[in-house]
């Protein structure tokens, strides 16, 4: 009997994922209400439960367990981007126009700053060759920019792993940290959200962090964040790498 149930659930992975996530949301909102009197938003708790569940697997988190493979489809880039685009229905085009320039500046500053701060930290922690430094610095942009840069420059697989991990840490810190610092950095309006998306850049971290802070801000942050990884892949292995090479030789 268990076998039959498991077979049905595995075969209909996406639908089981709907059920499972629905269940997580139910528990999270209940916990938020009962334990924190809505002080910690239910979404934030749900995302934390999600991250904790990811520890049950490896590379693909909980989706490494065949029963939960559908979670990778539901949480994959296709559905994520589809639903992010849908949030544009609630966004105000005028507000985006106003924040446009700040958004572009935030993007450039964000990629430049993440790369060179990442490089500086890696240097302080014992890395000195320009390829490893650039790869780790690129990982500080997003976990896609890291391996793309490392691949282009021919970095070792150990450094590639570190750069991907740095990007994943960034996503997690953005997810958990955003609601905590939102007040301090006055992240409570579309204008700031556009800038925030450009500075942090990791689409999943920006999206999840803003969702936990105020879902209304999601489309504004997502709009700029979507350009970040591409810009990073463009600048890190080229211009930034050459600047770095001039600095460390």
């Amino acid at each position: 009997m268990m076998e039959v149930i498991e077979k049905v659930l595995t075969k209909n992975g996406l639908l089981f994922a709907f059920l499972f996530v629905g269940f997580i949301m139910l528990i999270s909102y209940w916990l938020s209400k009962k334990l924190t009197r809505n002080k910690i938003p239910g979404v934030a708790i749900a995302i934390l439960i999600g991250l904790a569940l990811a520890l049950l697997g490896d590379k693909k988190g909980i989706a490494d367990i065949p029963l939960f493979a559908g979670m990778a489809l539901l949480g994959g880039s296709m559905f994520r981007d589809f639903s992010v685009v849908a949030t544009a229905m609630g966004a105000d085009l005028e507000k985006i126009k106003h924040a446009g320039l700040a958004g572009v500046i935030a993007l450039l500053v964000g990629v430049f700053f993440s790369f060179f701060l990442g490089v500086a930290i890696a240097y302080a922690m014992g890395y000195s060759d320009s390829v490893s430094l650039a790869t780790i610095g690129a990982g500080a942009c997003t976990y896609i920019v890291g391996p793309v840069t490392g691949g282009a420059l021919g970095a070792s697989s150990e450094v590639m792993a570190i750069s991907i991990a740095a990007g994943v840490v960034k996503t997690i810190v953005a997810t958990i940290g955003t609601p905590l610092v939102a007040k301090a950095i006055s992240l409570d309006n579309p204008h700031s959200a556009v800038v925030f998306g450009g500075l942090i850049g990791t689409t999943s971290g920006v999206a999840a962090g803003l969702a936990a802070t105020d879902p209304k801000l999601v489309p504004y942050g997502a709009l700029t964040a979507t350009f970040y990884t591409g810009l990073g892949c463009l600048l890190c292995p080229s211009v930034f790498y050459f600047i770095l090479k001039m600095l460390v030789g």
Binding site: M25, I49, K60, G61, S83, V85, G110, A140, G230
Partner: protein, 122 residues
């Protein structure tokens, strides 16, 4: 009909992704640059146009709003499929770089948001 909304959303999504991939190709990055952004702008513009013309039915909007409200559960599913184990176990460099860069970037938000605002008021 609800499917009109879903179809419109899919249209914007695909056109945005194609534009993003073409831009990626043009600047020599293998991948999609800003596809989601293009799709969002397209959806906003079409939405505005249809509303003005009075062609946007409530039923059509429902098809889009459904997906927009599925956004949070999808993010939760996404969180549960991240490589959290690697992030925690790959040693201090990744942890320090990821954490310090993100936290410092948080505090750049008010600075850059200010620059933008001044321009806006001027």
């Amino acid at each position: 009909m609800i499917i009109y909304g879903v179809a419109l959303l899919a249209f914007c999504f695909l056109v945005g992704k194609i534009l993003g991939s073409l831009l990626g190709l043009a600047i020599g990055v293998n991948g999609d640059v800003g596809g989601v952004g293009f799709a969002m702008i397209l959806l906003m513009v079409i939405n505005l146009y249809l509303k003005k013309k009075g062609w946007l039915k409530t039923e059509t909007t429902k098809g889009i709003l459904f997906w927009s409200s599925m956004y949070l559960p999808i993010i939760v599913a996404m969180a549960s499929t991240q490589n959290v184990k690697a992030a925690i176990s790959s040693g201090p460099v990744a942890l320090v770089v990821g954490a310090v860069v993100t936290i410092t970037a948080f505090f750049l938000v008010p600075l850059i948001a200010k620059i933008g605002r001044k321009e806006q008021n001027a």
